[in-house]
């Protein structure tokens, strides 16, 4: 299950998305037109990843136009001046290259992974569609139907997807993170090709983008290639990139959702800062450690106490993404163990017990040592995968953080004291910051004999 694995990689635990170490030479510079370029050498295999990251995502979309960034991402494969719709994909596929794109709240990114000798092809195609996209209306009319199918598959026919979409719409109040990246269906219904043309024109300029190249390359040979293809892209006016900010304290929110679920589930989300919005960076790192102490592995507290231990939960876990452009969420989720007649309030109470425990007593030295061992090993393991390295660098830079974090992140974590982990729990895991969602199987189901 490719997608599931993608999900797991995204779990903002400390370990798996961790990064390569500083032994790998990394070169960062800016072209005259404003394009930010980061080249990281990795000579283990004669392959290379090339990615272009744009600072535009769901968070930038005005109300009524949700889904624009993602729809534009789809249309980026539908032709540019010298390439027919779909032609670039077919060419890359013929070469054996793998390519794809992703749209997130904070960014839109395109990537190719190919043999190092083929890198110029990826660069030329990517540079061309940075400024010469055709955006034909007939292609759009077909593609918007594909996007609606995508929404049906991922969200509308997936009750967990629906539950989480609505939960986010409650958990964020002032922040546009409340909006779904794929767009509300009614916004997809009224989207026009002109909307996409305007979106493309205003956001796809070199100064709003970062080119990340990781693999078996040397700057002496790659820099001229980058200049040759991307240097030709004209500079344009820079869009304003705003950090999505949330209110400091909103008040407790609660929703009950009845869905076509087989198993009830619980979501508890606390409004917390990200590394980008926090005034004291240690707080964000302490929240990451808190996440790991609670759910960073099968020996962490929630699996140990709630899945094993009292067997209150069929599954339970936490998630916190510190590397976002704006204010973030610290989320607990769980499925109560119905075989032992555990209901949602009982599971929630058990989670609160864990929260209170860590507020009162800092994590043990052994717990933190375990987290750090995983982070340190993760640094090595991450080097086995150049795509993962490139993703990490591109994401950091695009949300407004320095790419050097891939190399010195471990020090930041090591600087956090156990008491600080308790302190962030006390500051942030409080009811005024809480959004709770009880997701229940439809009553219709229960009425059946």
């Amino acid at each position: 299950m490719l997608r599931l694995r993608t999900l797991l990689l995204l779990l903002p635990l400390l370990t798996p998305t961790a990064m390569a170490d500083s032994r790998q030479p990394t070169h960062s510079y800016t072209l005259d037109n404003g394009l930010n370029v980061i080249i990281r050498e990795d000579h283990r295999a004669p392959v290379v990843v090339s990615q272009v990251w744009y600072k535009v995502g769901g968070v930038d979309e005005p109300p009524g136009q949700t889904g624009l960034s993602h729809a534009l991402e789809h249309m980026m494969f539908k032709g540019s001046e010298h390439l027919e719709p779909g032609q670039a994909s077919r060419l890359l596929s013929s070469l054996g290259a793998s390519e794809n794109a992703m749209t997130n709240r904070d960014y839109t990114a395109y990537y190719q992974m190919l043999s190092r000798d083929q890198l110029p092809v990826a660069l030329e195609m990517e540079a061309e569609r940075m400024h010469l996209l055709t955006l034909p209306e007939d292609e759009f009319l077909k593609e918007i139907e594909v996007i609606k199918e995508e929404r049906r598959m991922r969200v509308d026919d997936n009750p967990n997807g629906v539950a989480y979409e609505r939960f986010l719409a409650q958990a964020y109040t002032a922040s546009p993170y409340a909006q779904p990246v794929i767009g509300w269906m009614h916004d997809l219904d009224r989207m026009q090709i002109e909307d996409l043309r305007a979106w493309y024109k205003s956001h796809y300029v070199p100064g709003n983008a970062t080119l990340v190249i990781v693999g078996d390359v040397y700057p002496e040979t790659v820099k001229p290639l980058v200049e040759r293809y991307f240097g030709a892209v004209p500079a344009g006016p820079l869009p304003v990139v705003r950090k999505p900010l949330e209110l400091p304290v909103i008040g407790e929110r609660s929703l009950t959702q009845h869905l076509d679920l087989q198993l009830p589930s619980l979501l508890l989300g606390f409004n917390v800062p990200s590394l980008n919005t926090v005034s004291e960076p240690w707080e964000a790192h302490a929240l990451r450690l808190l996440d790991a102490v609670l759910d960073g592995g099968y020996s962490a507290r929630l699996p140990s106490h709630l899945e094993r231990g009292d067997a209150i939960a069929t599954s339970v876990g936490t998630g916190y993404d510190a590397f976002t452009r704006g204010d973030s969420l610290f989320v607990f989720s769980g499925i109560p163990n119905e075989a032992r007649d555990i209901d949602l309030p009982t599971l929630e109470a058990a989670i609160w017990k864990e929260i209170d425990a860590i507020k009162q007593a800092p994590p043990s030295a052994e717990e933190l040592a375990r987290v750090q061992a995983q982070v340190v090993a993760g640094l090595v393991y991450a080097q086995d995968n150049i795509m993962q390295q490139a993703n990490r660098i591109g994401e950091l830079v695009t949300v407004g953080l320095p790419w050097q974090l891939v190399d010195n992140d471990i020090e930041a974590l090591q600087a956090v004291t156990p008491e600080q982990v308790s302190e962030v729990a006390r500051r942030y895991l409080v009811r005024e910051r809480l959004t709770r969602s009880y997701n229940l199987p439809n009553a219709r189901e229960e009425q059946q004999p």
Partner: protein, 514 residues
Amino acid sequence: MSQSKPFSVLRWLIALVALGGMLFLLMERAPDSQPAPDTPAVAQAPDDGPADTATEVFGSPLPALSSLEELDLDTPPARRGLDLQHWQTRQGTPVYFMHAGELPMLDIQLLYAAGASRDGELPGLAMFTNAMLNEGTGSLDAGDIAAGFERLGAQFGNSSHRDMGLISLRTLTAADKLDPALTLFAQILSKPSFPEASLERIREQLLAGLRYARQRPGSQASEALWSTLYPDHPYGIPPDGTEDSLKAISRYDLQRFQQTYYSAGNAVIALVGDIDRARAEQLAQHLADAMPQGPAAEPTPPAEKIAASSQHIDFASSQTHVLVAQQGMSRTDPDYAALYLGNQILGGSGFGSRLVEEVREKRGLSYSVGSNFSAMQAPGPFVISLQTRSDQAEQALEVVNQTLDRFISEGPTDAEVNRAKQQLLGEFPLSTASNSAIVAQLAAIGFYDLPLNHMQLFLDRVQALTATDIREAFARHLPASERVVITVGPPQPPAEPEDNADQPSAAAEQEPSA
């Protein structure tokens, strides 16, 4: 590797519930690409005569891109050197090894013929056993084991599939990390204790997993597919079990299964990382010694052929999931290369493949569409799958049937074949770039008893194929008289009588698609 069913029910549910939202925070645009094939070890350029390779591969006219003109397509892309090695332990356990000294880490993958096809009368037994392996050994409980690995930064993995059970370890190679990680790993192989407390908890989680699958139309479709294609065959056994069987499985059943199937005679050991040959030999022997000593399981026999049919399963969804399937090929089929290459052209390689072009690109009918051969120990299924808004399901099915029928009767074009060959050559360096990819390929070579130079042989065979070879192989393996159609979605309008339910679905030409 073949058909897979990631176990870890619990981490799985978490990911879906907790960060189900990530589904729409971060999405990939293209259909899922197929898992990496076992790819060739030493590549050669396609042996094409005077014709211009670029035109053959990219079509004509070439787009006006300077980088394409400068590309040297007649020289195969550079690749990582692969020094693959093979030997047996004293018990006869095959070992596959590659030294990779660039990073101070080691990947171990153990495959056993211990998949759901060995469940017998107790569906779910293989998965249940696999899930219990790290729940206790000797004096250690699940928490001790997990903490033991995690404090070393080591990553333990286990999963259960139809053909195989898998156990893996990724660890640093510094002695203070490697030695204790291996000690713990060997304990799991030698004396899993199947503690009662874990047993009941895992049972509950598996039962919850069964219920969870009921809310997913894709799971419903997949279950129907396997039970329809393999009615009296081990592949028809639901790997997740049934409510009754999961409740019936006892501690003794689990112990017996582990003793029988997680044995040294039934295992393949694959190692890739920063250890030398001598250490690898010693390590492999140590692991094999730790396992129960026992023989290899009998290979799974081929299934009886089944006749064409179609069935619809009602499900309250906005889309209908459409599967077109039949029994396909085994991993050792002489037509493996021809079917593999042909499937790339038909629907296995994403954009540019016929199904994606016809269903998605020309008609906008589906986000994800593709075809796949699950090449297993016995012939596994060939499946075309898509999802589409329910009122379009019939149209989509017609397009699929027409595309498949045409491909079988006419075969691919020479241009498509050349393009697909070039594609496989180009993919090779990517599919061997990481240690994790290589260890998985080595394990599969061992499991399916393929020659050590299999990757090379595969490539050679691919480069020698013609369009006729592919057409004939498809015609041999995919007769329309065995084609099964499964749809899952809202009730179908009762426009047509149900009496055509057992007719071959290839007879779908009533209405040419738009």
